[in-house]
Symmetry: C2
Amino acid sequence: MNGAESLLRTALAAGIEVCFANPGTTEMPLVAALDMVSEIRAVLGLFEGVCTGAADGYARMADKPALTLTHLGPGFANGIANLHNARRARSPVVNVVGDQATWHLAADAPLTSDIASLARPVSGWVREVKSASTVASDIAEAIAAAGRTPGRVSTLIVPSDCLWGEGGGIAAPLQVPYPTVVADEAVKRSAATLRKSRDKAAIFLGAQAMRSSGLAAANRIAMKTGCCLICETFPSRLERGSIYPAVEKLPYFPEQALEMLSKFEAIVLAGALAPVAFFGYPNLPSSLVPQGCASETLATPEQDAISALQALADELGARDGPVLRAPVQQPQRPTGKLDSATVGQALAALLPENCIVMDEAATTGLPFFAASSGSAPHTYLSLTGGAIGQGLPCATGAAVACPDRRVIAFQADGSGMYTLQALWTQAREGLNVTTLICNNRRYRILQVELARAGISEPGRKARSLTSLDNPEIHWSRLAAAMGVPAVRVESAEALCLQLERALAEPGPNLIEILL
Amino acid sequence: MNGAESLLRTALAAGIEVCFANPGTTEMPLVAALDMVSEIRAVLGLFEGVCTGAADGYARMADKPALTLTHLGPGFANGIANLHNARRARSPVVNVVGDQATWHLAADAPLTSDIASLARPVSGWVREVKSASTVASDIAEAIAAAGRTPGRVSTLIVPSDCLWGEGGGIAAPLQVPYPTVVADEAVKRSAATLRKSRDKAAIFLGAQAMRSSGLAAANRIAMKTGCCLICETFPSRLERGSIYPAVEKLPYFPEQALEMLSKFEAIVLAGALAPVAFFGYPNLPSSLVPQGCASETLATPEQDAISALQALADELGARDGPVLRAPVQQPQRPTGKLDSATVGQALAALLPENCIVMDEAATTGLPFFAASSGSAPHTYLSLTGGAIGQGLPCATGAAVACPDRRVIAFQADGSGMYTLQALWTQAREGLNVTTLICNNRRYRILQVELARAGISEPGRKARSLTSLDNPEIHWSRLAAAMGVPAVRVESAEALCLQLERALAEPGPNLIEILL
């Protein structure tokens, strides 16, 4: 068989089920081979950032990698921003990047470039295939290197002659190592810390610790010791809602994060690194661990945080039991004016049980998190790497991974414009994604940042560069032009009505929230 | 003054007039400083590929660089594909990329990544700023390194503390070297070749040789020796139309290119490298110079091809004189069905004198080039690096550089979807761009490539991955939703009528050609 078929059959043997693709000429043998390997689903994205963002969303929900298929350096480059987010989410993703035929590289044809240099900053594993006969073992290694969640981004660069060339086989799947188990000593140290500091301690949750069983163990510990539970500012995947313990999110701005953490004598890191500021600001530190607060590592993001939390609960003699939490008001349907509070309230009130919320709603999204603490149980995904344009693609991939669950893309307008092509893929695949576009016609976060930088009265250009007015973007028309039924709402009542309707309809739809 | 102001004032002193920007938090000091340096125009793109493609188009028409402003690694990465095209066009472009504060880099905050590794494959010059006090000299060097056309891409990575920090000054512009003059010996060798091979020789034109004075000199030579004039398959900028000598374009597919060149004993390279195949195919060579055809370098793309052609004309004793060419039928307005032939004919018939045509119309665009050989004089820009998604941004930048000229973006639908956000920038800036979207609802070139690879009956997935049907994209609605007035046409007569109207209206507009 040729290299292309060998690649796909090996991937299939290793459990790969989906390929998010934007192929070009050099990838034609793989496109043809996809028809020979019927078990792998091919999903077309009209821009590579859609494919890589979808692979991230898929991995977060499926806990295994999909393939992405992109075309040489520039095609891969279009996918880098969302691979950056995938890297920060520790999502396993396997990129297959076509390249010029090995013997044609030296000609330096127009599309030739140094793909490996582009790939390294976002990949934990990079390899250039040398021959059709090694494609199978190369892709098997790429998949094993990507691992399971928490995982890595693997990038395999495949020259076209290694795809069309004969001599390929099917390689057996390689063992994917499980996360390492935490040493007893770390558990004992963390237990001592929590026993000493009790309600002056917090567990800082990341990675797997934010899944159901991690949260259950963390809840036992909190009930026993009185410690607080806090999660990363941008969780890759957090289970939330009425049946889960209340977890606070570390605030975005360093002043607020430092203030929150200043209450604590110690924080215990469970699947998270010690928190750092998203950006450096004059006269503010990089580290968000306040002076005088100890930081104790129970489990790194690469370790098995769930078993570590369970061991810690046992060590503390914490009993199993139901989630006990302060009574949370089930959010009520809002009325009146649309603003970030009423939008958050509407979504919190109406989100259906077992749905997936992808939150890239930026400043407009802030009130939603607190409002939805007692909502129906749901999965919360967020913008892990700060590379905006992740929401629509990631929601697309999550819907491919979980066809039986409703996905809600809670989306800012500015970020949404980076990868709006994802809507077309949702329409083509008939995915159950409801997109809420928060149309406030500005890069609101940048206006906040200008003010933080002391520019209280921005000049004409600063206003212009942070505004999406002039012309206004009509998002519901954009969506409809790409095959996604859409409406525009201008009141909280209309939002609630349309959201109820949209959540009940199969397939994708979009609500443009005019703020 | 702070580093940001120092950067902009130094850039202004070096002749920079425009900044195509998509800034983020780390670039806020530059956004604020743009209001202090009123002479530099700030143009917002809603996606970084719009900014870098616009900078390429601007450079091709202005023969000097603009700045691009992007946000850390992921923001820069979104601009790489069009920087790849700019690199292949040898366009001078100066990228300013914000980075984390120097002291915050070690914290490895979520948006941190290795920007230099991303920048090197598309940049001839890369530097990371170390202090506010060197920003001025760093940007002066970046601008000088970018040069003039033919030029390079320069990338300056500026940590945020070097922007907000005080201690900056204004550096004097550095000398930008002119292209080196070709040695007499190369002129004499080329003259000997042309004298010997006469009409069995071709001059292969690239870079500056495709400008008016290069073409005038090439025409003298062709009139004297009977040689043919051929240009690169994807010219960065070619002057064309009734007052210019007829120049054939080297065909895209290697079989056809080899066939065209097989007529010749020798080709003389003037501002172009020896032609190579765009892609490698089984049983076809990398080089498109046929066996038995000599290739003689008159001028490399980096050398002064115009003076070299003038010297060659003088050496051959070629007299100055008017362009004499075989009578070219002025194209007639087509009627009937819309297809690539009638679309090309309509555009060729109606293009206004002195307009700029940015051709990213892919397969649909093919007949236009031959049809427009005798059209009104115009400038032709094309997709130099093969990274699709260049047309709409490049047209945007060309319109910023040449506000008094009509720009026509002749655009395939598949490629157009990569960077459709450019339409919004055209609307905001009121640019005189008429976009023709060739909506054939497929990646037609990939369907051709599948057939070339022997797959005459593509399977379901191969058809799906090369089709933009299901759902159809409604381009005129997409454009209108971003503020660009648009119509859809379904006959050649309607296209002609709408094109006449659109070309006469100020500001941007779009015609969706339903094929």
